[in-house]
């Protein structure tokens, strides 16, 4: 077993300087690890800090204390202490984040959005196109939309473009926040399959899934983060 994520003594408190310096403690003393080929599902009531924790693992939120070692190119690197270009390199090659929201870039087509991570990892333009098209087809996005920019797509269509982009070349670690929120049953099943395939191929998965059926299909282990809740 290869440890892909090692979280040690992580704490997070938000300090709102412009609201009287209010302090919002989220959690304290978080410790866990995730192995390759595991799917860890974060559990806990709404507001417990599941999304905050996922963002901390991605290096998006900065924890108040602690370290998070990500196994990147065969070596553990503390993403909390890493300089920006190291964090970006970790995200490019090792760490993927799948959210339910697509950040639309003006004028960039759905196909180019999905091709982009393959090109960034050195695939040829032909290979990138072939794989991107296969993934969009698998997620049932109508072919007439592929060359259009997703700004005018429906919520569910944008979400599928985002999922296609994330799973066209699964990262060694996939952080997943509510990927099926506005999908119909057929597409939801495709997403569950994609996650299972990535995991079987060796990716470490950490995710938040409100849909109970999805959660049970995906999870190999649960982590209830309520136990890390900081006494306010």
């Amino acid at each position: 077993m290869t440890t892909m994520i090692q979280v040690e003594n992580v704490a997070k408190t938000f300090t709102l300087h412009n609201q009287g310096g209010a302090r919002l403690p989220v959690f304290d003393n978080v410790n866990f690890s995730v192995e390759a080929g595991e799917a860890l599902v974060l559990a806990g009531a709404s507001g417990a800090g599941k999304s905050s924790l996922l963002r901390i693992l991605y290096g998006n939120y900065r924890p108040t204390a602690g370290s998070i070692h990500i196994t990147h190119a065969g070596r553990p690197v503390d993403i909390v202490a890493a300089v920006p270009r190291t964090v970006l390199d970790i995200r490019r090659r090792t760490l993927g984040f799948v959210s339910q929201f697509l950040r639309v870039i003006p004028r960039v087509s759905a196909l180019d959005i999905v091709r982009d991570p393959l090109l960034a990892r050195g695939a040829s333009p032909e290979e990138a196109s072939t794989r991107a098209k296969a993934m969009l087809a698998r997620l049932n996005l109508p072919e007439r939309l592929w060359t259009l920019a997703p700004a005018t797509f429906s919520g569910g269509e944008q979400q599928r473009v985002n999922i296609a982009r994330s799973f066209v070349d699964p990262s060694p670690i996939m952080l997943i926040d509510e990927p099926t929120a506005s999908l119909d049953a057929a597409n939801r099943d495709v997403v569950v399959e994609l996650i299972a395939e990535a995991r079987t191929a060796g990716s470490a998965i950490v995710g938040i899934f409100h849909d109970e059926a999805v959660r049970e299909h995906v999870a190999t282990r649960y982590l209830d983060i309520t136990s890390f809740r900081k006494a306010a």
Partner: protein, 268 residues
């Protein structure tokens, strides 16, 4: 298994392209910018944000070789030897600015020659760098006009016949044609309509990525910073109050001033 690896050991390149140490610029008793230090690595895009008067344009002028700082050092590693840009001769600094650097001004009129054709504006930079073959220069100018989405048929028109957005794209072609390692941009989308901005931003995003440029972009628009930059420095009253990865600074701001800036916009 040892768990701790210093991030520096993972360096993808041997050295930063630009090293800035303790740069300060004063106007009499007033602070323009003070005690700014950072490293910029090849291919990195750094954004400098802050409101008007925060010192971001002053800092950019110090970094770009336009305005000598009162204190501090700007070290550029473009060639074999690192170069302290303010200790070399004026002539050497100008040569550097013509060949290895590019500056995109907020107002295209400051970066273009308005009485020279579009093709001439782009070709001039190639001649500065020593190209002499007229046919090749014109061909490359034509190629670059098309890359910035200006129709080839406009090559012999003068910039004053262009719209503001076209002038800005022409300025970008003029700067990038000579393949600089480092580009400075001061509010590159300021003064343009939103629809024109979107087109220019996408163009800049693609060019920066495809050419592997390092860039320093001054902007007061956080959405522009989000789209174009890897790292952010937030300035207030001439000082850097917060810096880090762009999405960290915008999504989890720690300094009171950054929290104010990010909460003052509707959505970035």
């Amino acid at each position: 298994m040892t768990l701790h690896v210093a991030p520096a050991e993972l360096a993808l390149e041997p050295a930063p392209l630009l090293s800035v140490t303790g740069v300060s610029r004063f106007y009499g008793a007033r602070i323009g910018c003070t005690d700014v230090s950072f490293d910029l690595w090849p291919g990195e895009v750094l954004g400098i944000v802050g409101e008007s008067g925060s010192g971001k344009s002053t800092l950019l002028r110090c970094l770009a070789g336009i305005d000598k700082p009162d204190e501090g050092e700007v070290l550029f590693r473009g060639g074999a030897e690192p170069l302290d840009i303010y200790s070399v001769s004026e002539q050497e600094r100008r040569r550097l600015m013509r060949t290895a650097w590019g500056i995109v001004h907020q107002n295209p009129r400051d970066g273009l020659r308005m009485d020279v054709t579009a093709g001439g504006n782009v070709g001039e930079r190639l001649m500065d760098r020593g190209d002499r073959h007229y046919g090749q220069i014109r061909e490359r100018a034509l190629d670059w006009l098309q890359r910035v989405e200006i129709a080839g048929g406009r090559i012999d028109d003068r910039p004053r016949q262009f719209s503001g957005g076209m002038q800005q794209r022409l300025q970008i072609a003029r700067v990038l044609v000579s393949e600089p390692r480092l580009v400075f941009m001061d509010e590159p989308t300021g003064g343009l309509d939103v629809s024109v901005q979107a087109r220019l931003l996408d163009l800049l995003r693609v060019l920066v990525r495809d050419l592997g440029l390092a860039a320093i972009i001054v902007t007061h628009d956080l959405a522009v910073a989000r789209l174009l930059t890897d790292r952010l420095m937030v300035m207030k009253d001439g000082r850097v109050v917060e810096q880090g990865l762009t999405d960290q600074v915008l999504d989890d701001p720690h300094h009171a001033y950054t929290q104010l800036l990010t909460s003052a916009v509707l959505s970035v």
